[in-house]
């Protein structure tokens, strides 16, 4: 019993230390964004790595999700002779929910893991210490470009994923369910309002912050050689996934009441 209480206490303490550390990194990053010098070259490199290099995988995930969503909803809607509503169902599901969440999960897996592995390797090989001894702030030097790149590129990738997801639904709707092309597009257009797109993008912005802070923080915390970097990378991806889903739930509930 005593051991159980001790372990519980230790776990709670570690949890609060983790949250405090991650929040400290977030505040430090925000503060460093506005302090010159601004590393434009590094920022563009990160934007390319995070955004442009993720286009193929986001394309595939979104296209197949749109197609599957159309097929699965048609399965039920056909029974009620209402398959024409596949278009609006796909559009709303993709733009409000699946576009932002799936893109964030893909980026957490692809980019978040790579950020943790890169910073973790720098940590265990003393490169981060070397940066500090050369009077370069590691947060400014390593985190800020990745933070800005993620906050810009993830919403852009989400817009791209929304578009591709709708095309996936269109392919099934028009070529399998034989809904007229114009009707499909018109219903898609009619079903979407500004708040659907806005809330989706707002969520993706929050997801970008989660991915960046978790992956950088885990990278900075890595220790113990290659094994430690591997553990940090796994922990970073798992934590990002959980936090993205939890934040999605929270924001969806919030938007439900704020933008009814």
């Amino acid at each position: 019993m005593k051991n159980l209480i001790k372990r519980l206490g230790e776990s709670s303490l570690n949890f609060f230390i983790y949250i405090g550390g991650a929040f400290h990194l977030f505040v430090g990053t925000l503060a460093q964004i506005f302090i010159p010098p601004f590393r434009r070259k590094e920022l563009f490199v990160q934007m390319f790595k995070i955004g442009v290099m993720s286009l193929p995988i986001v394309f595939l995930v979104s296209l197949f999700t749109g197609m599957v969503l159309a097929l699965q909803s048609a399965y039920q809607l056909t029974k009620m002779n209402a398959q024409i509503y596949v278009s609006s169902l796909v559009a709303l599901s993709v733009v409000r929910e699946l576009g932002p969440v799936l893109t964030a999960l893909v980026i957490a897996g692809r980019v978040g893991a790579s950020i943790t592995a890169e910073l973790g390797t720098m940590k265990v090989t003393e490169q981060i210490d070397a940066l500090e001894t050369l009077a370069a702030n590691p947060v400014k030097y390593l985190v800020v470009p990745r933070f800005i790149a993620l906050c810009v590129m993830l919403p852009l990738l989400t817009i791209y994923a929304d578009f591709i997801g709708i095309i996936g639904g269109y392919i099934i709707g028009v070529y399998k369910l034989l809904i007229g092309s114009t009707v499909y597009l018109q219903l898609t257009y009619d079903s979407l309002v500004f708040k659907d797109i806005f809330t989706g993008l707002l969520k993706s912005f929050v997801f970008a912050i989660i991915i960046c802070i978790v992956s950088c923080y885990e990278g900075f915390r890595a220790e113990g050689g290659a094994e430690g970097v591997g553990k940090a990378t796994t922990f970073s991806v798992v934590t990002s996934f959980i936090l993205i889903i939890a934040a999605d739930c929270l924001f969806t509930a919030l938007f439900y009441f704020v933008f009814p």
């Binding site: 003393e126 210490d129 050369l134």
Partner: protein, 249 residues
């Protein structure tokens, strides 16, 4: 001058530094010896503010760096350089960008002059014309020498060397020893060298300090250390497998 007063540092239950006191005079080469894992690198990292002590002070030219803001610490760090055990070169940068990092980041010197300075530093460590190579294309010894070139490129007042000769062949190790002496004599740089290579320690040191159980147990000139009567120091410098250190006395 570096003054370390009552420095203590623990990692969990492991007390690495315990009320450690040490003075490093300006212009001298202070060599810190001790067994692997005894806290030599931890001590070195306290001197440049990479670690914060649990207790104690690290005073660099009348400023206690454990109590200053990050900005002031960065200003002091610009007068320092450190050669890391594994060189710690930045993987994503070329040798030129690594060696010229401090000048490219913190000065407005024209790039032509930085290139000259980088080439000169690389020449000093016996590596010429490798500016465009990436660290992954270098051998372990070359990385170490590039790390040293980076450390001397911006003419620091104090250089901290963490195991400077480990991983080098004997000839290159001796060349590095000569360079430490040279930098100390010609440029009046203060050097702190952490090593367990006694050949190197005797050659470069103005004074040698032995770290044992978190404290400095003896400080002296190479001759004083050679003729020490302390059994702990004696066992370490002779490299005897049996003695008070291994028997835990």
């Amino acid at each position: 001058m570096i003054e370390i007063i009552n420095l203590s540092k623990s990692f969990g239950d492991n007390k690495v530094l315990d009320n450690l006191n040490l003075n490093v005079n300006s212009g001298e080469v202070m060599v810190i010896i001790g067994r692997s894992g005894c806290g030599k690198s931890v001590l070195l990292k306290h001197m440049i503010g990479l670690l914060t002590p649990d207790f104690g002070q690290v005073i660099i030219d009348d400023t206690d760096i454990t109590k200053i803001e990050a900005k002031e610490l960065d200003a002091i760090r610009l007068s320092f350089s450190m050669l890391f055990q594994g060189a710690a070169l930045f993987d994503s940068m070329t040798v030129y960008e690594n060696v010229g990092f401090a000048l490219l980041e913190h000065t407005d010197i024209k790039e032509v002059l930085i290139k000259e300075k980088v080439a000169k530093s690389l020449k000093m460590v016996g590596l010429e014309g490798i500016e465009n190579l990436m660290p992954s294309e270098l051998s372990g010894g070359m990385k170490k020498r590039v790390g040293l070139a980076r450390a001397i490129c911006d003419d620091p007042k104090i250089i901290l060397y963490d195991e400077p000769t480990t991983g080098l062949d004997p000839i290159m190790a001796d060349a590095i020893n000569d360079m430490i002496i040279d930098l100390n004599h010609k440029l009046k740089m203060t050097s702190v060298v952490v090593t367990h290579d006694m050949t190197s320690a005797y050659k470069v040191a103005t004074r040698i300090a032995m770290l044992y159980n978190g404290s400095i147990i003896e400080v002296g000139t190479p001759d004083e250390i050679r003729n020490t009567k302390d059994p702990l120091v004696k066992q370490f410098i002779t490299g005897a497998a049996k003695g008070p250190i291994t028997e835990g006395k």
